[in-house]
Amino acid sequence: MQYILIGVFVVSAIVGYFIINNVPTLLHTPLMSGMNALSGITVIGALAVTAAEMHKAGYSKLSIVIGAVAIVLAMINVAGGFGITARMLKMFKKKGDD
């Protein structure tokens, strides 16, 4: 199982690399902030570990607090990242657009 995950990591990195290679430098800043938002996907890890802790019989409050902080931070990343990217992309106009 664990080795499958490592494989998934490598394969998605390679596929991602080739796709992203087609993004023009024009859009590199929005690309980066979009990637930033995506890295906030770690929120699902935060949700999973926090949930696992909550469901345990003798749960640790510390773990839940740490998990909750992780959720806050990751959500800042997700919402802020996608929000800023959307704002930036809105500014990219072609001649005669408006």
Binding site: Q2, L5, F9, V10, V11, S12, A13, Y17, I19, N21, N22, V23, T25, L26, H28, T29, P30, L31, S33, G34, M35, N36, L38, S39, G40, I41, T42, I44, G45, A46, V49, T50, A51, A52, M54, H55, I64, I66, G67, A68, V69, A70, I71, V72, A74, M75, I76, N77, V78, A79, G80, G81, I84, A86, R87, K90, M91, F92, K93, K94
Partner: protein, 481 residues
């Protein structure tokens, strides 16, 4: 996994679909007109991933979870609406840092929960990368926001300390040291490596940190056994790495040089062998952008050079030059952004176009503080993106161009990069402004760039120098014809 509603198979299928959605979103990002849709698609996939996870772990009723999500979302949406485009690099750096810390915290909890060796090792690795990303990003953001010195800060035995920290951290991970020890070492490493990075190397550094934030998430995903997190982490890691490469190439700089602090000084002397290896190999010259900005930033110096400025190009006045030119290329540098002269530049371009001239913008890849930054700054003032040209697509056109207007750029147009062997910028790809028939330079002063290489463009007989605040000098150009 205990306590999950979905079977492993259904979770894999859903994860696979979401990853495809994200990848499709990225494919759409390769076209400016479709990029917004791509971003929305990625956002939707992330949202679904969050909802599925909450359902899967049966935490939909949890108030703590909802409160955490709400706090993070509200904070960031307010910030996202307010941030200025020129601040984008530090915002991206800061968000990177949050992402890194979030992954590190996930790793800490999973270290507590780990049931087997593999999970606890991978969690420790995620913790290290997460903390390095966190502190490194905070330092980078601090420098970009001018809360910290922008010049490289070097402490005694810097490289030795960096190496020792790396070794100590690895040892801690291998021998399962208490996680707080590992965390502190990793955090210290992040600070020590980022503090030495100079302002001009920031585009490379934040690209790298961007990559690391993805890697941290991906490895945390391996630790907690979440395939979706692993896949997305891998994609983000790859993207950051790609941008890091693009930046290194454009700056003629090696990544290792930046991380291990190869100084401009060392490379400055001689690089006799370097030339054969063409652009990407030489460890040098990153600071060139710095040059521009330093030049622009240091308000104090302005007076010094005022007198020498008129190097009249064959008696023609600026107004005549502007009037006669049919084909104009504008080269904006970070100095333009520092002077906040984007609107004036847009006005100038509009006025030139109104007279039937062709106006294009040539953008050097390292113009600005992060990859693609200059494009965003110009689009912000409504300059259509189809007039913005990447270096490789416009460099051949300078020879046919009647007039180049340089605004706040120095090293990225320095022809010495092509000819002056042994200088720090030698071999760096530059915009061939020198090929144009006439050149107007609107720079703050005519000091050589950070790299210390005088720019022969300034003394070229076809060049007219307009020194001072770009906002005013560009306004003078507008008034001159």
């Amino acid at each position: 996994m205990t306590g999950t509603v979905l079977s492993a198979t259904s979770f894999y299928i859903i994860s696979g679909a979401l990853v495809l959605g994200v990848l499709l979103g990225l494919i759409l990002m390769s076209k400016p007109e479709k990029a917004r849709l791509g971003n929305a698609l990625s956002a939707a996939c992330t949202l679904i991933a969050i909802a599925v996870t909450m359902y899967n772990y049966q935490i939909l009723p949890s108030k703590i979870i909802w409160a955490s999500i709400a706090v993070g979302t509200v904070i960031s949406l307010i910030a996202a609406a307010k941030v200025k485009m020129i601040q984008m690099p530090q915002v991206v750096a800061l968000l990177n840092g949050f992402g890194g810390l979030a992954s590190a915290l996930v790793a800490i909890v999973s270290v507590f929960q780990a049931e087997d060796k593999f999970s606890s090792y991978t969690a420790a690795v995620a913790l290290v990368i997460g903390f390095v990303t966190f502190t490194g990003s905070l330092v980078a953001a601090g420098k970009l926001h001018k809360l910290l010195p922008q010049k490289p800060v070097v402490i005694p035995a810097h490289t030795v300390i960096v190496v020792l920290l790396i070794i100590a951290t690895v040892v801690c991970v291998i021998f399962n040291a208490p996680i707080w020890v590992t965390a502190i070492l990793a955090a210290a490493f992040g600070i020590i490596f980022a503090i030495r990075v100079g302002g001009a190397d920031m585009p490379i550094t934040i690209s790298l940190l961007n990559s690391l934030s993805g890697v941290a998430g991906g490895i945390a995903g391996i630790a907690v056994g979440n395939v979706l997190l692993v896949a997305i982490g891998g994609i983000v890691g790859a993207s950051g790495l790609l941008l890091t490469r693009v930046m290194c190439k454009a700056m003629n700089r090696k990544l290792t040089g930046i991380l291990l602090g190869s100084k401009l000084g060392t490379a400055k002397k001689e690089e006799p062998t370097a030339k054969a290896e063409a652009e990407e190999e030489e460890p040098k010259a990153a600071e060139e952008t710095e040059a521009v900005e330093e030049a622009e930033e240091e308000t104090a110096e302005e007076e010094a050079q005022e007198d020498e400025k008129e190097a009249p190009a064959e008696e023609l006045s600026v107004g005549q030059i502007l009037t006669q030119a049919k084909n104009v290329i504008i080269i904006p540098g970070y100095g333009m952004a520092l002077a906040q002269a984007q609107s004036q530049v847009k006005e100038l371009s509009d006025k030139l176009e109104a007279q039937g001239k062709e106006v294009r913008f040539a953008i050097h890849p390292v113009a600005g503080r992060m990859p693609g930054h200059m494009n965003v700054l110009l689009c912000e003032v409504d300059i259509p993106y189809d007039k913005l040209y990447e270096m490789d697509n416009i460099n051949g056109d300078f020879a046919d161009c009647d007039l180049v207007i340089i605004v706040g750029a120095s090293d990225v147009v320095n022809p010495a990069a092509n000819t002056a062997e042994g200088t720090p910028i030698y071999g760096m790809p530059v915009l061939n402004a020198a090929d144009a028939k006439r050149i107007i330079v609107c720079n703050f002063d005519e000091k050589p760039g950070y790299a210390g290489v005088p720019n022969p463009l300034y003394t070229n007989p076809k060049t007219v120098m307009k020194l001072g605040d770009a906002k005013e000098t560009v306004a003078e150009l507008i008034a001159a014809f």
